[in-house]
């Protein structure tokens, strides 16, 4: 073994920004996350040239997985051209030379904040979800160490109690996004702040999901074909947002998750939240060639 064999040629910046040792650590932790679905795996979480809380966890995973042959899609709140999605997409392209796309069907790697695309993901696709708070137990236990012990003991009683209390007080479960869900029958995880509309897409999905919280330094995963069950009581069914009957005012798309746009006259109109689906729908309507893939929801119903 020579000294030369232990060194590498100097580069102004590592490929994908992260150095080899940071990538190896994330690789090791991702493998364990896949092996124990829904279990939060602590990792070092290096600083990246973006502020904490702005997708640094998702970014580190993407930077580890990326290669020049990978088509990358980045979305925020369902939209490809929102400012932070644009910023992350630009960064990923700059540090990797990987081609970017807005088309869900073309993407190999999708980094997303708060949404799962409406078009079904395939067995060869990876979804990286940005996670602000990886701990589903935080509302009932803010202390990370105690919460970890509760996961170890599968002690989710207080979680259930909280849901029960909400039903008693408000007549329904009040959780908006980030609906706590049981993965592979063992770990309760947060699916990240995706709307309740998106949680059923994770159950027995064909694609691999990696959820990564950079600030909180934890990552977890949902491998393909893994059970993801929102916590519900047998007699109070899980309810997604009442968006099934809404129509997008711009594209005419119907039966998907919508953004509500308040109007000056006190009413609201709606726009489909998955911006690329909206664009494709408009293109199809205008007679352009655009392929809308199979969607998880059909006529507003999860198939």
């Amino acid at each position: 073994m020579s000294l030369k064999s232990l060194t590498k040629t100097w580069e102004p910046m590592s490929y994908g920004f992260l150095d080899a040792s940071a990538k190896r650590e994330i690789r090791r932790k991702m493998l364990k996350a896949i092996a124990v679905p829904g279990c939060q795996i602590p990792y070092a979480s290096r600083e990246v040239p973006m502020a904490r809380g702005w997708g640094t966890g998702g970014l580190q995973v993407s930077c580890t997985l990326i290669n020049p042959g990978m088509q990358v899609k980045v979305i925020d709140q369902g939209a490809d051209d929102s400012v932070n999605a644009a910023s992350i997409r630009k960064f990923l392209a700059r540090v990797s030379g990987a081609p970017t796309t807005m088309n869900t069907l073309e993407a190999d790697l999708i980094q997303s904040r708060h949404r799962i695309p409406e078009e079904k993901l395939r067995e060869d696709q990876i979804l990286v979800l940005q996670v602000p708070n990886p701990e589903p137990l935080r509302p009932v236990q803010p202390n990370m160490s105690i919460a970890r012990q509760m996961h170890a003991d599968a002690d989710y009683g207080r979680m259930w109690l909280q849901l029960y209390e909400q039903i008693v007080r408000s007549g329904r479960v009040m959780q908006g996004a980030s609906y706590p869900s049981l993965v592979n029958g063992r770990f309760v995880m947060t699916p990240s702040p995706i709307p309740r509309w998106d949680v059923p897409k994770m159950d027995m999905a064909a694609h691999l999901t990696i959820l990564s919280a950079g600030r909180e330094k934890r990552l977890h995963a949902v491998p393909p074909y893994t059970r993801v069950e929102p916590l519900v009581f047998d007699d109070v069914p899980y309810r997604v947002e009442e968006h099934a009957a809404l129509t997008c005012s711009r594209s005419g798309a119907r039966g998907f998750f919508m953004n509500e746009i308040p109007q000056g006259d006190g009413t609201s109109t709606y726009e489909v939240s998955d911006s690329e689906l909206g664009v494709k729908t408009i293109r199809c309507r205008d007679g352009e060639a655009a392929q809308v893939g199979e969607t998880w929801y059909k006529s507003g119903e999860m198939v």
Partner: protein
């Protein structure tokens, strides 16, 4: 910084090896292909000085040493590499992690012959219905010991290597010997 960094050969190779390992573990029973044959590629994609590895084979041990990982006894290792597993009792030594930190459970990498031998039926996360595979070259009692030792979520992962092919078995995978 105006131009895109270009991946080095090392980056390209380790990225592709990891891709094969990740998908092998994500879809137990579906065989993936690594860019190079053997376990050395797995070592360079995963290990560095933060790791503790157990390695029986001297050639692999030098690959491990190059990464800076410490060579340790099997019960202290987070990664174990075997050319051929001496006997099924070796599994008893493998670190399973703890309830609090299941991720401390180790990763076992060993050679096997894929596509021949014992008929196995896999189920669990990553399996879209039962998946059947054939594996030879492992000591008698391997599958029985694996099943006996797993204490989900405590447990260990297995990568079976046959040339450039890899088959992954996460601890969450139920293996039935047919």
């Amino acid at each position: 910084m105006t131009t895109h960094p270009v991946p080095s050969d090392f980056e390209t190779r380790t990225n592709a090896t990891y891709d094969a390992l990740m998908w092998a573990l994500s879809r137990p029973g579906l065989i993936r292909h690594m860019p190079e044959t053997g376990q050395a590629g797995v070592i360079e994609a995963l290990l560095d000085r933060e790791c503790k590895a157990h390695c029986a084979d001297p050639a692999l041990a030098s690959s491990v040493a190059r990464t800076g990982a410490a060579l340790v006894a099997s019960d202290h290792a987070d990664h174990l590499f075997f050319d051929s597993l001496p006997d099924a009792d070796t599994l008893e030594q493998i670190n399973l992690g703890s309830d609090l930190y299941p991720e401390i459970g180790a990763t076992l990498v060993c050679n096997a012959v894929l596509g021949q031998g014992v008929h196995l039926r896999l189920s669990g996360p990553g399996c879209n219905g039962p998946v059947d595979v054939q594996v030879a070259g492992l000591p008698d009692g391997f599958w029985q010991n694996r099943a006996r030792l797993m204490r989900y979520p405590m447990g260990f992962e297995v990568f079976l290597i046959d040339g450039a092919q890899v088959l992954g078995l996460p601890r969450s995978c139920h293996v039935e010997v047919l």
